[in-house]
């Protein structure tokens, strides 16, 4: 069967999945009674509600044409997605062991690869400038306690 509006259909599937997740794991917790609600009560009700909404949206997506032109889901661009988020993950993983400067360089260089017009001549000055700015504002200015140098070099 052909989906009339794939955006809605997959939104519905996403809602059902989240609803299932929250209502399902709520079973581990105490339900309580209506007068004395346990920790499971509210999430169970909401989870079931979300599943119902999801089912409705998915059903509508199968049957009703989209109002805004084609209902297909636009292509996912994995290159910027992976490079931008990967850069952030790299920052998070590097910060403690390698210190702020290494983590910042990784973040800036990896993320700027995602633009498709990467020029090292441009990015290097940008990276150095941003490192200095961050040091000035956050470390010396606001006095945040972030390790600046790699762990083995810090005393």
């Amino acid at each position: 069967m052909k989906l009339k509006n794939a955006k809605d259909f997959w939104s519905g599937v996403m809602f059902i999945a989240f609803g299932l997740f929250f209502a399902g794991f709520a079973r581990q917790y105490d339900m309580g009674t209506a007068a004395r609600m346990g920790p499971a009560y509210f999430p169970t009700v909401l989870g079931l509600l979300l599943m119902a909404i999801g089912a409705f949206v998915a059903f509508k997506g199968m049957r009703t044409e989209s109002e805004e032109g084609h209902g297909r889901v636009d292509k996912f661009h994995f290159k910027p997605l992976i490079l931008v988020l990967g850069a952030v993950v790299a920052f998070g993983l590097l910060l403690r062991p390698a210190g702020l400067i290494v983590a910042l360089l990784a973040l800036i260089i990896i993320s700027s690869l995602g633009s498709g017009e990467f020029k090292l001549k441009e990015i290097l000055p940008l990276a150095i400038g941003l490192c200095l700015l961050v040091l000035a504002v956050f470390i010396w200015g606001l006095g945040l306690t972030i390790p600046v140098l790699p762990a083995f070099m810090e005393r």
Partner: protein, 504 residues
């Protein structure tokens, strides 16, 4: 007069050197980021929130408010000069503002936007100050049942007045409510959905959610299109002075825009965006046919009305946030989050328990608006230069500030990774046309709603009819139901789509 005394107290707080300084910094940074296309006020606030942690709560909120209306202001500059809305409520300003710029009247358009916004901001602040005390009075009559019903109304109102699919927006609210429940349950001490990850026991940080879903997802979406070409009218901003004829036309539009914006800002789901749309539509209806030049071709009323409306709406949307502790839109949800981080329990008691904060914030809004006029008009050349920075250099810088901001909340790298995960989720939402703003609202209200539901049900001994037998609560629920019914009616839903289409 209480109002005068309160305002005096407020100005006393806001005019201290420290608070003036932070209001200035807030306006400055807000404008700076607002000018850059592609980052809205929500992402801006989420990104800069961590910078305010080390401040006094009053100074922090003053600075955040400054960032908010600064971003609002900066957005209009971009709209007029580049035809790219810096943030969503400037979409309407693009229509006539950019056309004015093309005809060499960019200066007049910018001046009108700035002065109109200042006037609207002044009125909005006065309305806020005058309504605050009666609203707080009303709020003290609310029991848990009323609070629960009010939140239902607020959430429903927020999606009804927003664009896009109604049912999907409700789904996003519920998802937000559920995400808000992650962490330790206050009543039983049970840790929910934390899966033995210690960082999750305190709940998901809302800064991470907002930054990931709005900030990161926006950046990825912007990069899809590759290098963009924009034409900036930088060389010929022209004279800042509007002609006498323009002044006459604009002043009526400013008055109407301000009135409309002030009313719409208070409504749940209202605020700047809706106000701007409505004001533009009203101007067009009022003798739009004979307008010279016609609307859409550079009529100054098309700049004056939405710009004053969005500023008035931005001010008055603080009313439900400050007096009831209930955010009418996603930006106010972030402000609530900021208050909680500073250990201020949002709600009607803020006015009595923290009067200097409450009135100081209100007074600082007027001062901030004044600063913005002073900042924007003479410094316009500087903001224009900023528009020439290519996006490929801009977004790594944005990411740097986001990453450090998230990390510094708890000095924890786990939060950075979680923000990246929400970035991926936000990109999925973008692809599926699921609006993220209702999710943020739900996320903030989730724990509050559960708490009030539990209390109401405990007091009624498990009888759910309590929500319908208490008159105030019933009235709020009827209003919520009426909103859904009205919007679901076929004629209205078609009109609603048209209204939102017009801005595209």
């Amino acid at each position: 007069m209480d109002l005068i005394n309160n305002l005096l107290l407020g100005f006393g707080t806001a005019l201290t050197l420290t608070n003036l300084f932070y209001a200035f910094i807030g306006c400055m940074i807000g404008t700076l980021i607002g000018v850059l296309p592609g980052i809205g006020p929500i992402a801006t606030l989420a990104m800069l929130l961590p910078m305010t942690y080390s401040l006094e709560p009053t100074s922090a909120l003053i600075m955040l408010a400054g960032i908010y209306y600064g971003a609002q202001y900066g957005g209009s500059t971009t709209a007029i000069l580049v035809n790219l809305p810096g943030e969503s409520s400037s979409v309407v300003t693009c229509l006539d503002g950019y056309q004015m710029a093309r005809r060499g009247r960019a200066g007049a358009a910018l001046a009108t936007a700035a002065l109109g916004s200042f006037f609207a901001g002044t009125v909005g602040t006065l309305v806020l100050a005058a309504l605050a005390a009666p609203m707080v009075e009303l709020a003290f009559k609310f029991g848990p049942a009323e609070y629960f019903s009010l939140m239902v109304l607020g959430l429903i109102g927020a999606v009804v007045l927003a664009s896009g699919s109604l049912i999907k927006a409700i789904g996003m609210i519920v998802l937000g409510l559920l995400l808000g429940l992650v962490g330790t349950d206050v009543n039983s001490g049970v840790s929910r959905y934390a899966f033995d990850i210690p960082e999750l026991a305190d709940g998901i940080g809302f800064v991470g959610v907002a930054m990931g879903v709005f900030g990161f997802a926006e950046i990825i979406a912007n990069l899809e299109h590759g290098g963009e070409k924009r034409q900036v009218f930088t060389d010929k901003v022209g004279s800042l002075m509007p002609t006498w004829d323009e002044v006459k036309q604009a002043s009526g539009a400013v008055l109407r825009g301000t009135g409309l914006g002030a009313v719409l800002g208070v409504l749940p789901g209202g605020g700047a965006l809706l106000a701007a749309f409505a004001a533009y539509t009203v101007e067009k209806k009022l003798g739009g046919k004979n307008a010279n030049p016609p609307f859409g071709q550079g009529n100054i009323r098309g700049v004056a009305a939405p710009e004053s409306a969005n500023n008035a709406g931005a001010q008055t949307s603080f009313i439900p946030m400050l007096t009831l502790g209930i955010p009418p839109n996603a930006v106010m949800a972030l402000m609530i989050g900021a208050m909680t981080i500073h250990n201020i329990q949002p709600g009607p008691q803020v006015m009595t328990s923290n009067p200097t904060l409450f009135w100081g914030l209100i007074a600082s809004m007027w001062i901030g608006n004044l600063m913005l006029v002073i900042l924007n008009l003479p410094l316009i050349g500087m903001w224009v230069q900023l528009l020439k920075v290519p996006y490929r250099l801009l977004y790594p810088a944005i990411l740097v500030f986001c990453a450090i901001g998230v990390y510094s909340i708890n000095n924890n790298a786990f939060d950075v990774l979680m923000t990246a995960a929400f970035g991926a989720l936000g990109y999925l939402f973008f692809k599926l046309r699921c609006e993220p703003a209702p999710l943020i609202l739900g996320f903030i209200l989730g724990p509050m709603m559960e708490e009030n539901l539990r209390r109401a049900m405990l007091l009624s001994r498990g009888d759910p009819t309590v929500f319908f037998t208490r008159p105030l609560s019933l009235g709020l629920l009827i209003a919520a139901a009426a909103l859904v019914v009205i919007v679901a009616l076929p004629q209205i839903s078609r009109k609603r789509e048209e209204a939102f289409q017009e801005g595209d």
